[in-house]
Amino acid sequence: MVLALEYDLFEILVGRKDDADYKRKPVIIQGITGSFGSTHTKLMKEYGTNVAAGVTPGKGGQTYEGIPVFDSMGEAVKATGATISGMFVPAPFFLKAAKEAFDSGIKLLVAVPEHVPILDSIKAMEYARSKGARMIGPNTPGVIVPEVMKVGIMPARPFKQGSTVVFSRSGTLMYEVSYELTKAGFGQRLCFGIGGDPINGTNLIEAFDLVNNRDDVSSVIVVGEIGGDAEETLADYLIEIDFKKAVVAYIAGRSAPKEKRMGHAGAIVYGNYGSADSKFSKFAAAGIPVAKRPAEVPILLESRLKPD
């Protein structure tokens, strides 16, 4: 099921070229005064993100790094007109914070918290859908438009502007693969973490839909891992829609034992369900090469494209 969304993701993040605030879209940080939220707010700001406000209940009226803090999302949205929120609250507060964000008019929620109960993720996703909004995550490192802005916890160094897109189920592997791409001359237009949980607010198929018609995207890298069938359903979908852009995949966890949760809540194999073999064979059927290690990704991409 594909979400009906009022706006294009790029448009939400950076705006239209003729917008006055093009590339300076305001962002609100939920949980700005926490240790995690505050550290990354500072880094986001340094990177160029327009962090216009923060929310921490009970801390309204304060400022952090010159950014006004509000008690509620309603007040923060009213003051800034923001439609993007980066969420850094502890997992037990995720659902309440997500509903508050969508109720206040947020159209893109980047949910960083790990360890969110599955039921809460499904509820938040359904809530977003009812409001015509999108959620990325939870358990995502966030989204970055290299050299423009980022909402999340990714370091700046691996990323460079270009025309490749990276969608990843893992945070550090997104950095690692992007870094390999950057070193090989393949810059990125957009990278985001799908999330390491069994339920993703924006899944791989929806992520591909976001970039399918964009002229500024030449290729897409999928960083998958064992568990679930997101890669398998994606492979079927790409065959079905006859996806034209170059696609290269990497799958982590092929040597992991069965029925063991490998760090991510979503990284677990039951029988053949979620196994690396199942994903490899589906990608092979879709004609998508799968790298054996992160450093092989640009080599495989090179064989399909010339560097930017």
Partner: protein
């Protein structure tokens, strides 16, 4: 968290789902004593989290107490896929007419809960072609849906009603306890048409455990896993001699794959998560030091804001305090890496520019 059969059946009983009378024993004496409560034959079932128990011979039918004693000895020593049983369940043998299959599970790609039912029970559901599958609302299974499934399974009269009731109760259990998978394979249909759960497979959402303290009693972690959990790490014990640690589950999985490709054997998977500090690395080495078979440690850290010289200091501290004495092969991207390399000269630890180089060296070391 995956529950053992008897634990799942405890939850079934709590939700009014019929189960055979049974008793859990940890010793032969206990088993013999408990068996007097039953009429023979009884069935002895190893309590394991791994699947494939029947095929592995970890379920034995016994027709008298001397059989039972022998079967108990066999089962208590029998490893299935590397796992020893945590108790043996003694269960009455029911007089069944046929078997069916039912599960309610989190359907990841459809991002909702789904139900699968089949008139063929006791077999691998993946291999069954004739099955009913449909999505259910977040609020739980609808009675009409349960009735439709019962009709498609060809159930009638008593069995039809019993199935509807059974499925509704499983749905309530899934919803209230936040369960990822509740599978009953098989459900026996008895001579009188009533239904009874012969097995249980329950996986609870670990992330929802804070709302279910009553399920904590089912948690079963090794001492090493407990220590790792206390430090906020994810740890999976493996069987090789190279400990693999890093920041991020995907990165560590990827490193395990690459080590395996080079002929190395991973001894553990340890993800210490984002925001690594000197203290984090030190704590991770402390956890690793408790795993006996480790002969070398491979660190793969994709640093964002971490300073590598601080990581190097943590490794040196761990050596100094005799926490570890095996060599450490590290790949750490981040600031000050030349300084970190220089600091480690003369120690058993070495820093590499790429993970491939570090892997080549660590595999050579333990070969």
């Amino acid at each position: 968290m995956k529950l053992l059969e008897y634990q799942g059946k405890e939850l079934f009983a709590e939700y009014g789902i019929p189960i055979p009378s049974a008793s859990l024993a940890y010793s032969k004496d206990e088993a013999l004593k408990d068996s007097t409560k039953f009429e023979f034959p009884v069935v002895l079932k190893s309590q394991l989290t791994v699947g494939g128990r029947g095929k592995a011979g970890a379920i034995i039918k016994c027709s008298n107490s001397s059989d039972l004693g022998l079967a108990f000895d066999v089962l208590s020593k029998k490893e299935v896929k590397g796992e020893l049983p945590r108790g043996i369940l003694i269960e009455e043998v029911v007089d069944k007419k046929s078997e069916i299959y039912l599960s309610i599970f989190l359907n990841r790609s459809r991002r909702c809960y789904s139900l699968i039912a089949s008139a063929e029970g006791g077999v691998d559901i993946e291999s069954v072609t004739n099955k009913v599958i449909f999505d259910i609302p977040l609020g739980g299974l609808l009675r009409e849906q349960a009735q439709e499934a019962a009709a498609k399974l060809g159930l009638q009269d008593v069995s039809f009603e019993a199935f509807v009731d059974f499925a509704m109760r499983i749905s309530t259990l899934v919803k209230e306890k936040e369960i990822e998978l509740a599978e009953v394979n098989p459900i026996a249909i008895l001579k009188d048409g009533s239904l009874i759960a012969l097995d249980s497979k329950i996986i609870v959402d670990d992330n929802a455990m804070f709302r279910h303290p009553e399920l904590r009693k089912y948690e079963h972690v090794s001492e090493i896993e407990r220590q790792a959990g206390k430090s906020g790490f994810s740890l999976v014990e493996l069987y090789g001699d190279i400990a693999i640690i890093g920041n991020g589950a995907g990165l560590v999985m990827s490193t395990v794959d690459m080590v395996t490709d080079r002929g190395g054997r991973a001894g553990c998977f340890l993800d210490f998560g984002g925001g690594a500090t000197t203290q984090t690395i030190y704590e991770a080495l402390k956890v690793i030091s408790k795993i006996q078979q480790i002969r070398a440690i491979l660190v793969n850290l994709f640093g964002g804001i971490v300073r590598t010289n601080l990581v190097a200091q943590a490794i040196l501290d761990a050596y100094k305090n005799n926490l570890v004495n095996v060599p450490v092969y590290a790949r750490i991207t981040g600031a000050e890496s030349e300084k970190a390399k220089a600091m480690l000269v003369g120690s058993k630890a070495k820093l590499y520019d790429t993970v491939e180089e570090a892997i080549e060296q660590v595999v050579r070391q333990v070969a």
